[in-house]
Symmetry: C2
Subunit: 338 residues, 2 copies
């Protein structure tokens, strides 16, 4: 392996023929050495290409200039993978601009996730964390508060750190308005799992909005983001009287649902139209191709990262709450061509 | 924002009523203080929950216990996204086991990538890096060598650091043997871009193996991993006399190719069968569903991470070369049902 060629204070001291303490005084602009020595040391430091290490700066400032994110172990769900990949690259892009680095860990269990926060913090690997997919009775906000780790919560506001809430109401308004526009008078909605707080918010918004629009709205929550759960949700909607349009929380649920409709011999879109709240290449390739709401998880990630850097610089207060409203865009395809 | 509650050497010193130097002597097990003082300090350190910070350890050992990866900016190619997401989670899983953290950066240009390595190294943010998709005349190996950054190269061996080579020959042997098994006597192959070293190796292996198997082999390199490039490659194969089976480097090329065949009115699989060298949900949803080789990018990532930790512990030498041979498995679907 190559030797580590990065110059240290010791190298500068040796070259200058002075003590390491003298080098430290010069580099930190403190008194105690002559101007001539100071100049000599600074010149040598430049010549040797000396850079203060993050480690040295972290020690003196107690800061690592890194932000952490823990995600669930890859779920084999292409939708979750796509979301997380773009979310992570968005976070990283913003952090990189701000000269922070980005550390992530894929965790199998909640205990592992909490342990990760504990050790990241104890070892000063991160200055703050971003938390996603808050659950009912989620232990993370209180745990992070007890350790004192600055945090941004994506999707819900637990009253600690800062929160970035997506505008579920605006999303549902767009969808219900679109349904009216294409002449649909009954809408089924297959929401994400009830355990996730933002899924419940979305389902509640759906129920309020369909009621006020005078449209028959039938909501149901999927057991998980899987194809099988998509099949089951469609069977459940069918027993309540099949709606004219089914809206799915993501394209994997939609794929399962679409296969269940085909199995039941339901014609799409002539009898039932489909809409997915996440877009991807899968929506284009399904038969019929599925109309979808296009949003940008990378932009959501960037906004989370911006909140974290604001929190760390004390530009915003603990408990700050921001709405993410990217003006959802509907990409029309054959599944809603009525 | 919460105050940083992590105890420091200063806190221990104050509690113990001794100097910070005395605490340092005790924690580093050095002489210069009485046994009674040492015991008192160690007891207080335990009670306060003191942990040596990564920063402090990095300063004394010149190590950050972190490994970095730079990837190209998300390409909007679902195949690349899926590969990188799983590759990264595999790297992270192994590094996490070894108590390393994982830092990544998405880079727009080669200059940005080189700058990232330079600053990661100067700031001691990483101990080593993993490099993917080596190009013809790639500047990265020489740049990393000049800085002295330990590196693992995934997919090619530039003679610096360690290399993990995927077994392109074994992959192509499996594919050609499968083609013979289903009774195919001409195979077209749409390889990845010629600028990527492992694509050229794969194309060369294809040409050698089809020749020795007595099968007509027509290879072509795609301009990029896109649907449009898939269309173009199929048009190119058609002018050379359409082969009975077309093998695509990934499912996005395959999707473009399949649409081009449909446009030309070619029946699949009756006239032309299809096989993708990457599997994903897209392969299942395409019509006809596409037979694919299943490999595991997460396992490839784990192996890269294992090589890095071996290199850092000097268990392997600079220049070490390892073959990744995961025994490719073919998942049969309608596109090869002859």
């Amino acid at each position: 392996m190559a030797t580590d060629a990065r110059p240290t204070i010791r190298d500068i001291a040796r070259e200058a023929g002075v003590s390491t303490a003298a080098v430290s005084f010069a580099l930190n602009n403190r008194p105690g050495i002559s101007d001539a020595t100071r100049e000599k040391i600074l010149r040598l430091a430049r010549e040797l290409g000396w850079t203060p290490s993050i480690a040295a700066r972290a020690l003196s400032s107690q800061r690592s200039r890194a932000v952490g994110l823990v995600i669930g172990r890859p779920s084999r769900s292409v939708a979750a993978e796509r979301f997380f990949f773009h979310f992570m690259t968005g976070i990283e892009r913003k952090l990189s601009e701000e000269r922070y680095s980005f550390v992530f860990h894929a965790s199998a269990t909640m205990d592992d996730e909490l342990d990760t926060y504990r050790s990241w913090w104890a070892e000063r690997r991160v200055d703050a964390v971003i938390v996603v997919d808050l659950l009912q009775d989620d232990p993370r906000p209180e745990f992070l508060r007890s350790l004192g780790i600055p945090a941004v919560f994506a999707g819900d506001d637990p009253g600690y750190g800062a929160a970035l809430l997506s505008d579920e109401e605006a999303l549902m308004e767009t969808v219900v308005a679109y349904a009216r526009e294409i002449g649909v008078d009954s809408i089924g909605y297959v929401a994400g799992p009830r355990t996730i707080v933002h899924s419940r918010r979305r389902l509640a918004a759906f129920e309020t909005l369909t009621a006020s629009a005078g449209v028959r709205g039938i909501g149901t929550a999927a057991a998980e983001y899987s194809r099988v759960a998509g099949h089951e949700a469609v069977r459940e909607l069918a027993t309540a009287g099949m709606p004219r349009l089914i809206v799915f929380d993501n394209e994997v649920l939609c794929l399962g649902g679409s296969r269940e409709l085909a199995r039941q011999g339901v014609a799409m879109p002539d009898e039932v139209a489909l809409l997915s709240l996440e877009d991807s290449q899968l929506c284009e390739v399904m038969a019929p191709a599925v109309t979808a709401v296009r949003r940008d998880p990378a932009e959501f990630g960037e906004r989370c990262a911006a909140l974290i850097t604001d929190l760390l610089r004390k530009r915003i207060e603990d408990g700050a709450r921001t709405i993410f409203d990217p003006a959802p865009e509907i990409i029309e395809r054959a599944s809603t061509a009525l």
